[in-house]
C-alpha cells in the first residue's frame, strides 16, 4: 500500500466510503439530522409507510441492478410494468366494464362482461401471473438479443421498446384502467401478515388509525426477490459471469464467459423483475393500468440503484447496495413530502439530490483509485 493511505483520517474516510454499508450510514445520518425537524419522520405510521413504499421499487431496482452490472441500461422497465399490468388484469378481472372497455381490442377476446377469461379461480390467477412473466421474458429477449447479437446500444434499444411497448399497453385497453381485480390478487399488493399496535393496553377499542402493518405480502415478495437476486448476483456462477462481463467484456469473451447469453439473460431478469413489480403496483392500486411506470418512474429506479453504489459503467453491483439505495430514495421522497415544500420546488430539490449523489460517486471512485 502506498504511504498516502496510512494517515488516520484517510483510513477513516476509506472505511466509510468503501464500505458496503456506506449508503445505509448515509440514510441513518440523513434521518438523524432531519428527525428533530420532522417529528413525524420516526412515527411508527410513517415507518410502516416508508416500508410499504420501499418494496415494489426494490423489486424493480433489483432487476435494473443486473443490467447496470453489465454496463447496460434498461429504459423499458416502466413500459413492461404497464403492459403486464394490463395483460394480467384483463385475464383475471372479476367483471368487465362494457361502458369503458367495449371498444378496446381486448374486449370479447380476453375480457367480457363476465370478467377476464381466467377469472374466478386461484389457479387462474397463477396462470395469469405466469403469462405476465412470459410477456416480460419475451420483451427482455427482444431487448437482450438486439443488444447482444445486433450490437445496438442498450440506450436506444430500450428507449424504442419503452415507446412501443408503452403504446401497446395503452392500445390494449384503449387507455382504460381495468378494475375489479379479485381479492386474492389484491392481497398480493397490500395484504398484512403482521400488524402492530402502539398504545395503552387497556384501551377498550383500538382505533384503526393506529394499527400499523409491518409484515405485508409485498414485503415478503420483495424480500424473497431481493434475497434470491442477492444470491444469484453475488453467490452463483451466473452472477460472477454478469460481473465479469461488466468489468471487462473483452476479458470475459477470452475467458470463455458466454457473453451474449449473459447479456440476454440480464435483460430478461430486468423485465421479469419489472413484471413482479407490476403485480405489486397493480394489486395495491387494484387495477390494471396502462400508464403505470410512465413519466419519471424510471429515473427513480436508476437513480436509487446508482445512489446505492452500483456503477453505470458495469462490474460493480450488489443487491444490498440497491436495497440501501432504494431505502435512501424512498426516505428522500418521504422526507420531501414531510418537509412540506411547495409543489413548485420539489423538482429542483430532486435534481440537486441526484447531482449530489453523482458527485459522491465520482468522489468515491477517485478515493478508491487513490487508496488502492
Amino acid at each position: 500500500m502506498p504511504s498516502a493511505a496510512s494517515s488516520p483520517s484517510r483510513k477513516w474516510a476509506s472505511r466509510l466510503f468503501l464500505s458496503d454499508y456506506f449508503v445505509l450510514y448515509l440514510s441513518l445520518a440523513y434521518v438523524a439530522i432531519l428527525a428533530p425537524f420532522l417529528p413525524t419522520l420516526l412515527n411508527p405510521a410513517n415507518i410502516s409507510n416508508v416500508l410499504s413504499n420501499l418494496w415494489p421499487l426494490l423489486v424493480v431496482a433489483t432487476g435494473q441492478t443486473f443490467i447496470l452490472a453489465t454496463a447496460g441500461i434498461d429504459l423499458s422497465q416502466g413500459a413492461v410494468i404497464a403492459v403486464t399490468s394490463v395483460i394480467g388484469a384483463m385475464l383475471i378481472a372479476v367483471t368487465g366494464n362494457a361502458a369503458v372497455l367495449s371498444n378496446a381490442p381486448i374486449w370479447g377476446v380476453f375480457i367480457g362482461e363476465q370478467g377476464g377469461i381466467l377469472a374466478g379461480s386461484i389457479g387462474g390467477i397463477a396462470v395469469a401471473i405466469a403469462i405476465m412473466m412470459l410477456v416480460a421474458i419475451l420483451i427482455g429477449l427482444l431487448n437482450g438479443v438486439s443488444v447482444a447479437v445486433f450490437g445496438m446500444p442498450a440506450f436506444m434499444v430500450t428507449l424504442v421498446t419503452m415507446i412501443v411497448i408503452g403504446a401497446v399497453a395503452i392500445y390494449l385497453s384503449l387507455s382504460e384502467n381495468i378494475s375489479n381485480l379479485p381479492d386474492a390478487f389484491v392481497t398480493l399488493g397490500k395484504g398484512d401478515l403482521v400488524s402492530v399496535y402502539f398504545g395503552a393496553q387497556d384501551e377498550s377499542k383500538i382505533p384503526r388509525k393506529i394499527i400499523y402493518s409491518f409484515v405485508t405480502y409485498p414485503m415478503v415478495i420483495a424480500v424473497a426477490v431481493a434475497v434470491a437476486a442477492h444470491y444469484l448476483l453475488n453467490r452463483t456462477v451466473f452472477g460472477r459471469q454478469v460481473v465479469a462481463v461488466g468489468s471487462n467484456k473483452r476479458n470475459a469473451e477470452v475467458s470463455g464467459i458466454p457473453v451474449r447469453r449473459v447479456i440476454v439473460a440480464v435483460f430478461v431478469i430486468s423485465a421479469v423483475c419489472a413484471a413482479i413489480g407490476s403485480i405489486l403496483y397493480s394489486a395495491r392500486l387494484e387495477a390494471g393500468r396502462p400508464t403505470l411506470g410512465a413519466g419519471t418512474f424510471l429515473l427513480d429506479v436508476i437513480g436509487a440503484t446508482v445512489i446505492g453504489g452500483t456503477s453505470l459503467f458495469g462490474g460493480k453491483a450488489k443487491i444490498i447496495w440497491t436495497f440501501f439505495g432504494v431505502l435512501f430514495f424512498v426516505l428522500l421522497s418521504n422526507t420531501l413530502n414531510l418537509m412540506n415544500l411547495s409543489a413548485f420546488q420539489v423538482d429542483m430539490v430532486k435534481g440537486a439530490v441526484i447531482l449530489a449523489a453523482a458527485l459522491l460517486d465520482v468522489l468515491r471512485t477517485r478515493l478508491t483509485r487513490e487508496l488502492t
Partner: protein, 499 residues
C-alpha cells in the same frame, strides 16, 4: 554547444517506484540517437516526459540550450518535437490532410483554407513519396501508409526532432525499407531523430549514437560504431544470456496435442499448418504484423478462419472460446489489461473466472466459496504471486509480473492441455521473467503443450524446443532446438528483405 536535447539528472517515480532515475544524456544536433532497453527500462516514461505527458519528479531537460518544461503535448509540438508512436495516433474518421493539421488549421475568413491545406499536404506527401490524396480518410489506408502520414504530420509541424517509437512493428519489410529511406531524407533536411526499437540491427545500422537504458538508468552509451549487437544485449540485460533461462527439464514427446492444418483467412493467414506436442514448448517467432497473434486468435476461436481445421487430441475444435476452453485450450493474450484481467476485481475473482463453472454447486450453481478460496489461495502460493489478501486486493494493485502470473494462474485453475502464451513476459521485470519461464517449463514438464509467441527472439531461443517462424501470415520456416541460430531465424523473419 551543439546539444539539441539534454537531460540533467532527470528522474520520475510512480508511487515511490523509480521509472527513470538520475538520467543524464545529451544528443547532438542533426544526429540520430538510438535508444534501446528492455520493456520497463524507462524508455516510454522518458518519451512521455519529453512529450509533456508526464512531468519529471526531479532533474531538468534542456532544449537547444534553454530550459524545457513541457506541460502538454502541445508544448512539445510547439517546441519542434514530434512523436511517431508505436500505436499510431491518427484519427481514422478524418482525412489525411485533416490529421496533419488537426492542432492548427490555416484559415481564410475564419474557415479552414482547404486549398492551401491540400496543396501543402500534397507537397509533404510528395516528399515522402506517398501517393495518396490529401482528402482520403485515414481509415482507408494501410498501416504503412498511416505511419507515413504520421511522419508527414511531424514534417508539417516542422519538427526539428522526430522521435520514432518502435516504428517498424506493423510494417511490411518493403514499407520498412521505405521508412529508412524517409529517415535518411529527414536527416538530409537537417532534422534530428531519436529511434527506439527492439530490432537491434536496425538501431545499429541507423544510429550515430546509442544509449542503453536498464531499470530506469542509463547503463551504456557511445557511438554506434562501438556497439556490437552482443554489447547491446549485454548492456540491456545486465549480464550474459546464460542463466537467464531455467534449464528445460523435460524432452518433448512426439504425440501432438494441437494440430492445425492449412488455416487460411483472407488478409490474415495463408495456409498455416502447425502442431504442438505433449510436453513441448513451441516458439512462434515473427516480426509484429507477421500474423502470430492473429494465428493464436484463430486457434482460440476469437477470430474466424475460412478454410483449414484445428484439432486438439485428435478431436476437431469448433465454436468460440468457451467450447475451446472446455476442450483444453488456454490463451494468455498479449494485452493483459484489456483482455486478461478485471483490473478492479479482487485477485481471487480473477483467478477463479475461467474455471468458475466447476465451482458451481447444484442445483442452484451457488459458488462454493470455501473451495474457491482454498484453490485460489493454493494457486497464489503455487505461482508465488506476491499479494496480500487475494479476496480483497484488486488485480490492478499488482506489479506487471504478478498480474501476468494471475493471468497464467486463472488458466492453470482449469488444468488446460494446451497453453497459448502471447508475449507472456511483456512488461514484466527481469526477476519475474525468470519465474514465468520456470512456470512455463513446469507446465511442459507435466505434459502440457505450449505455444509461445514472442518478439524477443532470445526468450524463444532460451525456452523453446522448436521455433516456427511466420512472415506476412505464412509459416516460412521451422527450426529445432539443436539447430537454433539467430541469423537463420531472423533471416526467415526478414525473408522478403533478403529475397
Amino acid at each position: 554547444m551543439g546539444d539539441l536535447l539534454a537531460f540533467e539528472g532527470l528522474s520520475k517515480s510512480w508511487f515511490g517506484v523509480p521509472a527513470v532515475s538520475d538520467l543524464t544524456l545529451a544528443m547532438r544536433e542533426n544526429s540520430l540517437l538510438g535508444v534501446i532497453g528492455q520493456n520497463g527500462a524507462g524508455k516510454s516514461t522518458l518519451m512521455n516526459m519529453i512529450g509533456g505527458i508526464v512531468e519529471p519528479t526531479s532533474g531538468r531537460m534542456r532544449w537547444k540550450g534553454a530550459d524545457y518544461e513541457p506541460k502538454s503535448a502541445a508544448d512539445a509540438s510547439e517546441a519542434g518535437i514530434a512523436f511517431i508512436h508505436q500505436e499510431l495516433n491518427l484519427f481514422t474518421n478524418l482525412t489525411v490532410a485533416e490529421n496533419l493539421y488537426i492542432d492548427g488549421f490555416p484559415r481564410k475568413f475564419g474557415m479552414i483554407d482547404w486549398a492551401t491545406i491540400n496543396e501543402r499536404t500534397r507537397h509533404i506527401l510528395g516528399r515522402l513519396a506517398l501517393d495518396v490524396e490529401p482528402s482520403v480518410n485515414v481509415g482507408h489506408l494501410s498501416p504503412g501508409e498511416r505511419q507515413l502520414v504520421e511522419i508527414a504530420r511531424a514534417l508539417h509541424n516542422e519538427a526539428e526532432l522526430v522521435i520514432f517509437d518502435e516504428p517498424t512493428t506493423s510494417l511490411t519489410p518493403r514499407e520498412t525499407e521505405r521508412l529508412f529511406e524517409t529517415i535518411a531524407t529527414l536527416r538530409g533536411e537537417g532534422r534530428s531523430i531519436v529511434y527506439i526499437s527492439h530490432i537491434l540491427s536496425d538501431v545499429k545500422k541507423l544510429s550515430d549514437d546509442v544509449a542503453v537504458l536498464r531499470d530506469g538508468k542509463l547503463v551504456d552509451q557511445g557511438p554506434a560504431s562501438d556497439f556490437s549487437i552482443a554489447r547491446m544485449i549485454r548492456s540491456m540485460i545486465g549480464r550474459d544470456l546464460g542463466g537467464q533461462f531455467p534449464e528445460r527439464s523435460n524432452t518433448p514427446t512426439t504425440s501432438a496435442i494441437l494440430s492445425a492444418r492449412s488455416l487460411s483467412q483472407p488478409g490474415v493467414l495463408q495456409d498455416v499448418s502447425i502442431a504442438v506436442n505433449r510436453g513441448e514448448i513451441l516458439g512462434l517467432f515473427g516480426l509484429m504484423g507477421a500474423g502470430r497473434s492473429e494465428l493464436a486468435r484463430v486457434i482460440f476461436g476469437l477470430d474466424p478462419h475460412e478454410t483449414g481445421e484445428i484439432e486438439i487430441d485428435g478431436k476437431p475444435l469448433a465454436g468460440g472460446p468457451r467450447e475451446r476452453i472446455a476442450a483444453g485450450l488456454a490463451f494468455v493474450t498479449e494485452d493483459r489489461r484489456a483482455e486478461g484481467l478485471m483490473l478492479e476485481a479482487p485477485i481471487a475473482e480473477n483467478l477463479a473466472l475461467v474455471s468458475i463453472d466447476r465451482f458451481g454447486k447444484k442445483p442452484f450453481m451457488l459458488v462454493d466459496r470455501e473451495r474457491v478460496a482454498e484453490e485460489t489461495e493454493a494457486m497464489k502460493d503455487n505461482l508465488s504471486i506476491k499479494a496480500g489478501n487475494i479476496a480483497r486486493q484488486p488485480a490492478k494493485a499488482l506489479s506487471g509480473g504478478n498480474q501476468q502470473k494471475v493471468v497464467i494462474g486463472k488458466w492453470q485453475m482449469q488444468s488446460p492441455k494446451l497453453f497459448i502464451l502471447d508475449e507472456p513476459t511483456r512488461g514484466v521485470d527481469v526477476g519475474a521473467k525468470y519465474e514465468i519461464y520456470t512456470l512455463i517449463d513446469r507446465i511442459a514438464a507435466t505434459g502440457g503443450g505450449i505455444l509461445m509467441i514472442s518478439s524477443e527472439l532470445e526468450e524463444l531461443l532460451g525456452m523453446a524446443d522448436r521455433i516456427v517462424v511466420m512472415n506476412r501470415g505464412e509459416v516460412v520456416g521451422e527450426v529445432g532446438r539443436d539447430e537454433f541460430d539467430r541469423e537463420t531465424i531472423l533471416s526467415m523473419a526478414f525473408r522478403e528483405v533478403i529475397a
